[in-house]
């Protein structure tokens, strides 16, 4: 197990040397980045919107239940929903969901290309396949995932409003007052740091799993599952490390 872990770690690090080499043709990479931006960004927007509404809604309802009967003023719920979503829920939830959707898709796409000898064909043409197939995905993820996380944070706060104000848990004024209270700008920085780190982990780990797949369809399925599992675990570990570093 230990040897296996070290083997993959070493191979993963070495593989980065291949990814970050000079592109053969910048225009081809640019085209691929645009395609990936569309696939990851537009392709994941609806699921991000849906989960974000419920993240905000559940947080608001749950905290109202916890605080009911205490002397804490109701506007605090707006403040809690805002900070919870910005600091933790929007980046982590969004990236975990994207690891399941986008990460498994990347692993299957690249793994399928490996199995159909597309990668071999490109290698023989002289293409640096690790760079051509992975680098545009990483760049696109680093650009679009922080935007998706921002959308998620905004929509989550709206979700909190929709779940609590029309149902009479507290007033619109109280919720908005909470949203505007005790705002610390560095929390937004933390959200972006997390989203960039998580995006990198998710993309590189998923592509690594697909790129090195061997065997048939069972192995491809396994690689796709491992992409999601390992990305999710690493995202949560990174979440803890960033929390310790940025709040310490």
């Amino acid at each position: 197990m230990e040897k296996n872990l070290l083997y993959h770690l070493g191979r993963y690090m070495n593989w980065h040397g291949q990814i970050y080499s000079r592109p053969e043709n910048g225009r081809m990479y640019y085209k691929e980045i645009i395609r990936q931006l569309y696939d990851i960004g537009i392709g994941s927007l609806s699921i991000v919107l849906i989960i974000s509404i419920f993240i905000g809604a559940v947080t608001a309802v749950q905290f109202f239940y916890q605080m009911d009967g205490t002397t804490i003023p109701p506007y605090f719920i707006g403040y809690i929903v805002r900070d919870m979503t910005i600091i933790e829920l929007a980046p982590t939830f969004t990236c975990l969901v994207l690891a399941g959707k986008v990460g498994s898709n990347m692993a299957s796409e690249i793994g399928g290309m490996r199995q159909k000898e597309h990668i071999d064909a490109m290698e023989i043409m002289g293409v640096n396949t690790a760079a051509y197939l992975v680098l545009p995905k990483i760049i696109a993820s680093l650009l679009i995932i922080p935007i998706l996380v921002s959308v998620s944070a905004i929509v989550s706060n709206a979700g909190g409003y929709m779940a609590s104000v029309p149902t009479g848990l507290f007033t619109s004024g109280e919720y908005i007052r909470g949203l505007r209270a005790f705002f610390i700008p560095s929390h937004v920085t933390m959200m972006y740091v997390k989203s960039v780190v998580f995006a990198y982990i998710m993309t590189s780990v998923s592509c690594y799993q697909g790129y090195h797949v061997t065997g048939g369809s069972i192995e491809l399925g396994k690689a796709s599952t491992q992409a999601v599992v390992y990305s999710s675990i690493l995202i949560l570990i990174a979440d803890y490390i960033i929390a310790v570093l940025l709040t310490g």
Partner: protein, 263 residues
Amino acid sequence: MIKVENIKKSFDDIEVLKGIDFIFEPGKTNLIIGRSGAGKTVLLKILVGLFQPTSGNVFYNDVNTDKFSKKEIRKIRMEMGMLFQGNALFDSMTIEENIRFPLDMFTKDTMKEKTIIVDKCLERVSLKGINSKFPSEISGGMQKRVGIARSIVLKPKYLFCDEPNSGLDPKTAITIDELISDITDEYNITTVINTHDMNSVMEIGENICLLHKGKLVWKGNKDEVIDSDNENLTDFIFASPFLQKLKDRALGYKASMKEQNKI
């Protein structure tokens, strides 16, 4: 010219190639033949650099590939074209985009210039006018020809074909063989074909090596095949009882002709 010298390749404890020495001659169709599992594909993948040999050397025009820098490896790869057993056409791209891919990647030609080159390649493989179709919309034989068109688009010096006839009917297989042979002459390239198709051997085998259980057991050309008494070769060629009968008859006929001539 490509030369391999004492090539050995093992996967874990299994030795797949056991010291192969052979010269793939320029301007000729060189065939690697042998039964399934003989090590043909492994040898071909070593030649193109997809596998590293466990020991031994590969020389391109007398230069050992071990001594190639990264830049030289890329350069030599751009001089290679390869036709894969499963064609390896990119499913999400049209036929034109598939053939244009190497041009897009490595040339600064305008779109108009690239389209002209693609059309010429398609015409060369008798597939004019299918530019906008996807690989899934054409037959297996057509896919092979598109694969050939893509492999010659950068005017390679070396053409590698992995089982070009697999999955094709005998007539289409002959067409593909002839096409590869014609392209070899026309572009004066070194072609290496990995096959176990006997029609290919007899039609286009100008320089043949027979592998058996990872060893090179016979080399020669198509004219030497019939007269050879190499046991591995006759076992491979006349594998079916029908072909064995045919060979016995031919040998009987040959012997009787000799007798008649003596008389």
